[in-house]
């Protein structure tokens, strides 16, 4: 088994205490940090997310795999130079919208995004539109994510999107939405760019959308 396979497997198995040693070993064997991320960590998290969505994996599996990946990426980050993977590790600003105090689903999405290598700015719960606006101005994220668990508070998602638009921040920003009552139909109606039906798929869809956007930019 190659060292990349070994890293892939420990992430899949959620062995967060073993991953750092294997990453160190891979670097000693001459494997680049970029290859460790792109050929082992991301595919492993994609697989974990897929199995979670199919109810083959459960919350402990998802969270431990995300933790393992987070540790590996924390170890690798200082080694990633300009133009490498690090420059593509975008920021995601995320929060539960105003009036809603639920954070379990949002926290799972944070775990998987961090596990996939994103820098996540978690604004917490009951986040007013102006706080999202301020965070987008400050952190200049590629993606801003809104979570809502209640069907009444989810009306604050389009209100917050409007606030970003009115502040002139909507263009170039990918908007992601999710939460128990939120559907693809809602996402379309609000002109959101990303809808994730569950935490297992959120990171994968964000990856795909950002990769597609990067490709478009390269073409242009």
């Amino acid at each position: 088994m190659s060292i990349l396979d070994a890293i892939y497997n420990v992430v899949l198995e959620g062995k967060r205490n073993e991953v750092e040693g294997l990453v160190r070993q891979a670097l000693e064997e001459g494997v680049s940090a970029t290859d460790i991320i792109e050929k082992a960590l991301r595919p492993a998290m994609d697989e974990v997310g897929m199995r979670f969505s199919k109810a083959e994996f459960f919350l402990p599996d998802l969270i431990l795999a995300a933790e393992a990946t987070k540790r590996a990426i924390a170890y690798l980050r200082p080694l990633l130079g300009e133009g490498g993977v690090a420059s593509r590790q975008e920021t995601v600003v995320i929060g539960t919208v105003q009036g809603d105090l639920h954070d379990i689903g949002k926290n799972l999405v944070v775990a998987t995004l961090e596990g996939t290598g994103y820098r996540v700015v978690d604004l917490g719960v009951d986040v007013a539109p102006e706080r999202f606006v301020e965070a987008v101005r400050t952190h200049k994220p590629a993606v801003v994510g809104f979570s809502a668990l209640l069907s009444t508070t989810m009306v604050n998602i389009p209100r917050t999107i409007d606030a970003l638009r009115e502040a002139g921040l909507r263009e170039g920003l990918l908007i992601a939405v999710g939460g128990a009552p939120v559907t693809q139909r809602n996402a379309d109606e609000w002109q959101a760019d990303i809808y994730a039906p569950d935490a297992g798929t959120a990171a994968r869809i964000v990856n795909e959308k950002l990769a597609a956007r990067l490709k478009n930019q390269e073409v242009l």
Partner: protein, 360 residues
């Protein structure tokens, strides 16, 4: 829109019969919680929500609020809505921390991350049980001369840990990495609720209602085999005082609980709530479990209750009745609770429709 007169006064024997699969005159209506603004509109005065007097509707009475709804208010609420039972909230295990000034504070900050944190907690005791029993006595006294019953709602052994004590992500990792600690914490909760159930049964509760959210819309949170090993025998012990005396037991978990339904039947659960529409197809459950288990809830809080019209609500209630009413073992209600964001006319439309289409 006004509440219409209904047939059959509130009678706990109706709810008990529905839970035990015996004939009833009409489908009982039941809600976990009706929020304060609806209660105020029904009663014409502020009386809190049906789980607490002035507190957080999601969390019941709890420490910050102090007590359940006052008995006279709940009684009047039942008489108006036709609900057969008054509910006393005892959902959470009262783990406490000693603060620097020496007072005890219930743990709800998810701060227990290590065995050391756990060992610093003050564990629940007899005084916590007595705190709940006083309200059972108050409610039992208030229902004298009526047919309305008293139900105890408790049993969050798992949810207390991930929601209040440890936090979800750390708790889920603990399940794999520190199973002994998880089992120890669950065991303390179990002993507390075992004693509470036993005492509540002796005080004369009519129905034991246990709740512990262990599922989400795709299935169980924890792998079924592991979950069964750490949880099921404990929940069986909590409900045993009721099961052994023939007192009906209802169980609540949100989410898709398919993997656990047979286990619940095996330990003596008579009915399940709330039949979360994001994870459960009520037609499928009626076919699979309808003769062995009473099904409760499932009228979707989002649609029709929040976003639909009163006509949508009535239609949806009728559709549920068409499927779930034949053969009995059905308790009608929302897919969780009537919170303040449900338009009041939709709540009233639901009650009127249940009473209109629910008569046998």
């Amino acid at each position: 829109m006004q509440l219409e007169p209904y047939i059959g006064e509130p009678d706990v024997e109706r709810l008990k019969a529905a839970l035990k699969g015996k004939p009833v005159d009409r489908v009982p209506n039941f809600e976990n919680l009706v929020d304060d603004q609806h209660v105020a509109k029904l009663l014409g005065r502020q009386a809190g929500n049906t789980l607490s007097y002035g507190g957080d509707p999601a969390k019941g009475a709890g420490e910050a609020v102090g007590r359940p709804m006052k008995a006279a208010d709940f009684l009047e609420f039942c008489q108006l809505t036709g609900q057969d039972v008054m509910v006393i909230e005892a959902l959470w295990t009262p783990f406490k921390k000693r603060t620097p000034d020496g007072t005890l504070k219930t743990v709800a900050d998810r701060s227990v991350k290590t065995r050391q944190d756990w060992e610093a907690l003050v564990l629940p005791g007899e005084a916590d049980i007595e705190d709940r029993l006083q309200y059972i006595r108050e409610y039992k006294e208030a229902v004298k001369g009526t047919r309305i019953g008293v139900m105890l709602l408790g049993g969050c052994i798992l949810q207390t840990l991930y929601e209040m004590v440890v936090g979800l992500t750390d708790f889920m990792m603990m399940c794999y990495e520190q199973r002994d600690l998880v089992e120890e914490m669950l065991e303390v909760s179990t002993v507390y609720f075992e004693k509470l159930s036993e005492a509540a049964v002796k005080e004369g509760i009519d129905i034991l209602y246990v709740a512990d959210d262990f599922a989400w819309k795709n299935g169980l949170m924890i792998p079924p085999a592991l979950f069964k090993e750490i949880w099921l025998h404990r929940m069986a012990r909590i409900i045993a005082p009721a099961v052994n005396r023939g007192i009906p037991v209802m169980f609540h978990s949100d989410g898709k609980i398919d993997d656990a339904v047979e286990w619940l039947i095996d330990i003596g659960v008579d009915g399940i709530n709330p039949m979360d529409p994001y994870g459960i197809d009520y037609r499928d459950y009626k076919k699979r479990f309808g003769s062995r288990l009473t099904l409760s809830g499932n009228i979707d809080v989002e649609w029709p209750l929040v976003h639909g019209t009163p006509e949508d609500v009535e239609r949806d209630v009728k559709e549920h009745m068409d499927v779930l009413k034949p053969g009995g073992r059905y308790i009608a209600g929302s897919s969780h609770s009537i919170t303040n964001f449900v338009p009041h006319e939709n709540y009233i439309a639901m009650l009127n429709a249940i009473h209109r289409y629910g008569v046998y």
